[in-house]
Symmetry: D2
């Protein structure tokens, strides 16, 4: 395969930096352009970006001159980590200009003709791209990653829904501060504290999984019909969202059935070829005090979700804890994974 | 009223120290004896106790010689903060010897003839003391405080249950490290982490509120009939447990009804006389990102619970967040409050 | 004494909120005006201010309409918590207009004719006010509080300097996040981390103590002659700066002499009358693992400094640790204390 | 080279786990035995060990039966992470029995005939092994790693001492909780706090660097003659010790000289062959707010030290900050590095 040139739009923020880090040694993609807001544009990336990750800034991007985001970069694929208030129109413009966009922004996630994509969950939803092209014109297109909390929940629910059909989901999250970007959460708000509100998050978590687990029929996604009730909290954790979940299933399942469903959830041959695919998309923890963000977030290079503490729920059917890395699986890593699928399926070349 | 002499058993631990701190200037009670395990017994308290609270150790107790816990102290009332593995028999022995015990230990909480007491919730349950005396003989008796997580949940549910009858409760907790005592949680387990298991906690939280909100009939508590599903987590917070709750009510209530029930939940005249009674047992927060442990745990000197974020739940009826101070309202403060009620009702004099 | 009307300029920030909190029940001062930047001006304080302190916003200020800071409030005394970039000219204008300013900003701290005041350290420096009025005209004047790190160091050095003359001071600080204001330090920068730079802080800490401990002669401060070498760090602590100090003294002193100097450092009769004066300005900890920010910052309502771990230094003479509350003693509390001294001395009435 | 069989004594503790983790894929060494205290002995490692690291326990050790530490394992090399109170005699017994010990314990560090070894600092000190064998008999021997804080200080001082001769060192540390082992520091002692005392640490930091930078002459180490004054603190950081250092040098050096000395400090060809040698033993940070534990501890796989903020000191000559990973470079990684040197030099085969 030839190396595919890519750009990262919104490259100086927290998720943008993750894109830069993860793409530094990617076997398929080469970063040729970085875009950011006007304060950064025109300066070398090394100078424009307040680099926050614990690995050094990759040498290859240090001298790239940051471009304004209203420019159309000369490459077939753009990763977007743009802030939600500007992402919408910028991404549309890029798509019109013929670019494929793998976006982490929320602007187009629930658009009828935009795939909300997690390769292990709904790889077939990419067929919506044709609908999108027809409807919007243009040769480019937008494919969205889901919200970080919704992503790990959808992955955990996928094998249950497939076999037993999910009916109700009650979920309380304990989310890491990296999810709020940088500078994001003030130390004064979170040291020795819990914040019981993450604006907008509960809406996303209550609506995105149904599209993710929906069926594509006649060029439309029929959302899955389960109901989600979400409560989202911010806790003093750097990375990794922890979710306490209760589910009700349509068809009878035992505790062993549930565990077996997760353990049997294998990566398809199509996905196994993708560089970012985790060997095991779902790890089932056999220790009763796991998963924990500190100790499980980096499993499978941050691309799996870990479930544990599965037990009966006296109100719904089962309770469990699911954990995922919010800026890897739940953001930049997820979008790169999506892009890899698009390449494998021939949408990007 | 004459000053009542009291002892604190288990005085060197985390909750024991809270008893010492809170009783230092109590208008009714004077600490005359401190008891602890064999390693501490025989030494002055100032030397035996690794004092952890941010206020200085009260001068009055510094020179008290710590007594062995198998001794019966010469006073009518003992506060017990004994570890659960020794509390059971020690408290029985003390009761047999004629002492009133206000215990924070879990050993006797679910005993049929032991009041599990929160003055605002079930002051009338003290009538069980007569049953207990009859059944066990002895002039002393045991009155128990509930688990910290259960206490704040029961207080929040009380006005709802009274008017609308609670049917189902789903609760996920984010609990402070002080709940595990000292040394308790290792820094290596909790810095930048969440622990999704607190051994034994979910059982307590799923069973104690039904007794707390039960009805005393013919010398027996008929437990409230609602079902609780609990998931308990430890988070990097010093003090204050945060609980995300969903409830289903038997009778129809609007959001305004729920808020009105909490706001109308006043302290009874009987309780208003007690030194530890909070003027308002339940605070309803009007800010959408509250309650928070850091900013609400010390309201009403740590003796109220704060509720907030009340909103409809798409699965049960309503969702909300409730916060309480786990070592004040939820432990030492609660037991002292109980003792005050016992004095006011004439059980202790 | 009649109640003195006061204003707080910069009232919505972290230090401004501390002023509001501390003045809510002040026996001498009544807050009649609050000033802040243009985004806040014109709105009720309760709405303009993102209140961060763990006690409720005082009822008396909730409805005060925030004023623009270029207005001159109608009261004899203004507390300034203005950001340093605007404090300079605003404070000069107020002073020209006849107002007494007790400022926590750094703008005028090192001006020749502005007292840099800590009542326990240099109460006599207020005589500079006459020089200031002569030089600048106007009936008002500016009195400055020192930097928080410099304040607690100067208090600890004061009794040593008085008797043994300080020659060299090597100091490494571990400073709380509240010192950076709100939002200030990002959680992503400080959770599980230490920041080895606080811009501008080392300069202040290396230069202010010499003025604080200087002698007023002929209308001029002759700075103390000792040299300070400072290294300033930010640590994941909410409140309370910890400083590891080594000192060299001009005259011989034993370890016991040093301890005796601190223990004998009593509040003068003049200061004892001031509401904010701590009964003991310096606490000497007798436990070898103290002072600690968590457990000592609130001693004497946050107005004392605590020293401990005094021991010989193999390079200079003595090493010790000093701790103070950075937003109480080191900021708002210190400025209020200054204002009280000004009232007691007749400069404000 | 043939694979060398090794044992880890003290394998269940924090440092022991690091040994296990680091040796899992070591190109020269294969772990064949694990030893621990009586409570663990006889059980499979997977069961006896409360595994704390964020990578999974290596499969190869899960089923090894933990041995009692008074046994002599059948292998030429033992890594010791034994607690200091038992390490002394156990290590002597092993050495007498013919085993080479690379220990992280403090028991024998200052013994005249035991090399205190850091390959980049004093590789030639291994010649002491002959002295040790002569004096103690036996074919085995003990080689010690230095205290974690002393290690990173010694590495930073090495190039300065070589060229300019260090005279005085003032150092204040901010140390991570992992240095205290597990469970080690209680969350209640460190959340929102700094502990200004680490028992025994200042002694080690004030005495070990002189031996590390000493000269081997006639079978004896002549300690370097500089004086160290240390103040050691515990901060809420998981891994990585930060040290604020001031140094006085015997010979004149400019700031550029100091930086050049660090930057020119290359790994010798002998060391370059060792698997654990960092390509660059000292990184000089060019950003003014670095090094930081979070962002620099994992550089060079945790085996380098990072220096930054070099600037003149008004009391001694220069100030700087040095950071190292305390359980990698400063403990298990350092001992493995030492063992590799012993293999390369032919002491172990």
């Amino acid at each position: 395969m030839n190396e595919i040139h890519v750009a990262i739009w919104g490259a100086t923020g927290m998720v943008g930096q993750r894109f830069v880090q993860l793409l530094a040694h990617h076997p398929w993609f080469r970063v040729v352009a970085l875009g950011a807001s006007d304060v950064s544009a025109g300066r070398p990336y090394a100078e424009a970006c307040h680099w926050l990750l614990p690995t050094p800034m990759p040498a290859a991007v240090r001298d790239l001159i940051v471009q304004p985001i209203d420019k159309v970069p000369d490459c077939p694929l753009v990763f977007s980590a743009l802030p939600s208030d500007v992402a919408g129109p910028v991404e549309e413009t890029l798509a019109q200009a013929g670019t494929a966009i793998c976006t982490n922004a929320s602007a187009h996630r629930l658009d009828d003709d935009v795939p909300l994509l997690i390769p292990e969950v709904n790889a077939e939803h990419t067929a919506l791209i044709d609908v999108q092209r027809q409807r919007r014109g243009g040769k480019g297109f937008i494919v969205a990653s889901a919200n970080c909390s919704a992503t790990q929940l959808a992955v955990a629910l996928k094998p249950l829904h497939e076999t037993y059909e999910v009916r109700k989901v009650s979920v309380v999250t304990m989310q890491a501060v990296s999810g709020a970007g940088y500078p994001g959460v003030s130390a004064l708000d979170i040291l020795d504290n819990v914040l019981p509100l993450i604006p907008g998050e509960e809406d996303k978590l209550e609506t995105e999984p149904q599209k993710l687990l929906g069926q594509l029929r006649n060029g439309e996604i029929e959302n899955a019909l389960f109901v989600i009730s979400a409560q989202c909290n911010r806790v003093p954790v750097r990375d990794g969202h922890t979710e306490c979940v209760s589910v009700q299933l349509e068809r009878h399942a035992t505790l062993d059935d549930v565990i077996a469903a997760w353990q049997g959830f294998a990566t398809s041959p199509e996905l196994a070829e993708l560089p970012s695919s985790p060997p095991r998309p779902i790890l089932v923890s056999d220790r009763d005090n796991r998963p924990q963000p500190l100790r499980d977030r980096d499993m499978e290079r941050g691309m799996c979700v870990t479930v544990g503490r599965v037990r009966p729920c006296p109100i719904l059917d089962f309770k469990f804890v699911v954990l995922g890395h919010n800026t890897l699986r739940g953001a930049a890593g997820g979008s790169i994974h999506n892009a890899e699928l698009l390449v494998a399926q021939g949408w990007v070349r």
